[in-house]
Symmetry: C2
């Protein structure tokens, strides 16, 4: 199974489904950055994974749909609505469909399964929870919703705190804890530990189940050479007291992972990481092509 | 002021705003065929009038937006949703905006004013009511929502009954009765009497106020040569016991109108209509060009 955030995770997953049978792969997706806009229920990370595995993602951006148009958004802007979240016309259909199914009483896990089915995604994508957990970002006195911080304000604010609203009342989605218990291998994708994987780990029972897991838990560091490959993970880790490095990632996950896969440029960190009780595998972790993704997936499945 | 249904009404109104100052024109729009789809609140007749007066209507269809695309709808279809109501991408933005404003507690009359403002419509378009009134069509044993009858099933069913669900609990929108009271001239546009104007007249107080009106009430017959220019008005009138003719229209409105404007081909009906106490004006009523619309508007304003 795999725990996945957004773009970084999707890149590894597109390789993973070439290495293992997609039908055998359960992917738990982050919903901490889900939000509502125009009354639509939007699940950005679930969509990134779905669109990527369906082969319809916009490769350049890493999110949204390839060759999508923005006619509806243009008109919404003309009508005076906020349009900082760039929903294409086809993307919007996914949000309309999700919202419609939720309104008819289906759970997010059921809706996600349905969307995957309609888009021919064979891996089983499950949201971390059917209950709302909302990642909030504190920037000094400023309380920001995740997408407000991330998209609207361009992730420029200094992050002085992160919370996962609703996490104590949330349960893992049906089947998630059982999947962790039964998995031979659990891959924590190269996603932002605090913003993308953190929300899952905050749900009561989730981190404990991973800690107890008899399967091999492998994480891929999203920090390479002290920098996040994408997004603000390095800065956020630093400002929340984690070293922005592969070591810092190991430190965040040390109680749940057996292996950390780190990039060649970070090879020198192996000693400190192993001192945390985490084994290290060094390889190329930057995925530019599908071939890179497959290569990294092979490593992740073989340590 | 004017009472308006959809396409036929909009054609006269585009002429009317050239003949009178749009700011002085209050248009009461039919909301009997409003409905919900994908959780969106759709007001087809209000939109037809708005888009026409904004100069952005698809002229050929008479509804929807010119040069709109259907990418979202195509994707909705791929996702397994019903797509018989043809919402273009830009049209969808209007529905999203309306629904969003309604969800935030604004009344339909406020929302309609806002949409008109954003689209530079200077006439004052008011829905007949802020309360839901829903036109239902009975076809023998079949109970159909209006749009189901009209769009989904192509208005092919024999109509054995029409009802206006919720009309007894509805009030005219703020200002409507006062506008009727104060109007020097009230134009009932060439819309389907039963399906488009009927819903307004069914609201308690509405028809009475028109009957008492001191202004000149002028209607334009939507039936020309025994046929509806568009839509099923002729068949519906016939099956509900009204003669499908200018005379039948006069018979439907006889207690509220002073004048009926009829087409030259129906000139021979003038005697029977006048016997109902309704004065007749004969002219060309088929509006193919904007010039035709202006010409008819001039007649309507001068009888």
């Amino acid at each position: 199974m795999a725990l996945a955030g957004g773009v970084g995770a999707a890149k590894l997953l597109r390789g993973l489904v070439q290495v293992v049978s997609p039908e055998d792969l359960i992917i738990v997706g982050n919903t901490g950055d889900d939000f509502e806009m125009y009354g639509l229920s939007i699940s950005p990370d679930l969509d990134i994974v779905t669109f990527t595995l369906a082969g319809i993602v916009d490769e350049e951006r890493g999110w949204g749909l390839a060759k999508d148009t923005f006619h509806c958004l243009d008109m919404l802007e003309k009508l005076g609505l906020e349009t900082w979240f760039k929903l294409g016309d086809r993307d919007l259909a996914v949000q309309i469909s999700r919202t419609d199914l939720l309104r008819h009483g289906f759970k997010l896990s059921q809706v996600t399964a349905k969307l995957c089915e309609m888009l021919d995604v064979h891996a089983r994508l499950v949201p971390m929870s059917d209950d709302p957990v909302r990642t909030k970002v504190l920037s000094n006195q400023l309380h920001l919703d995740f997408q407000e911080y991330f998209v609207k304000r361009g992730a420029r604010d200094v992050v002085t705190g992160v919370s996962y609203e609703g996490h104590l009342e949330a349960s893992p989605a049906p089947g998630v804890l059982e999947a962790i218990r039964r998995a031979e291998r659990i891959v924590i994708c190269p996603s932002n530990p605090i913003l993308s994987v953190g929300p899952m780990l905050s749900i009561p029972g989730f981190r404990d189940e991973l800690r107890r897991s008899k399967g091999c838990v492998v994480s891929v560091s999203p920090i390479v050479g002290g920098k996040a490959l994408k997004g603000p993970a390095d800065r956020i880790m630093a400002s929340l007291g984690f070293e922005p490095s592969a070591y810092g990632v190991a430190n965040f996950y040390y109680d749940i992972i057996d292996y950390l896969v780190i990039d060649k440029v970070d090879e020198f960190e192996d000693g400190r990481i192993e001192d945390l009780g985490v084994k290290v595998k060094v390889t190329e972790t930057v995925m530019k092509s599908l071939q890179d993704s497959i290569q990294l997936a092979r490593v992740v499945m073989s340590v």
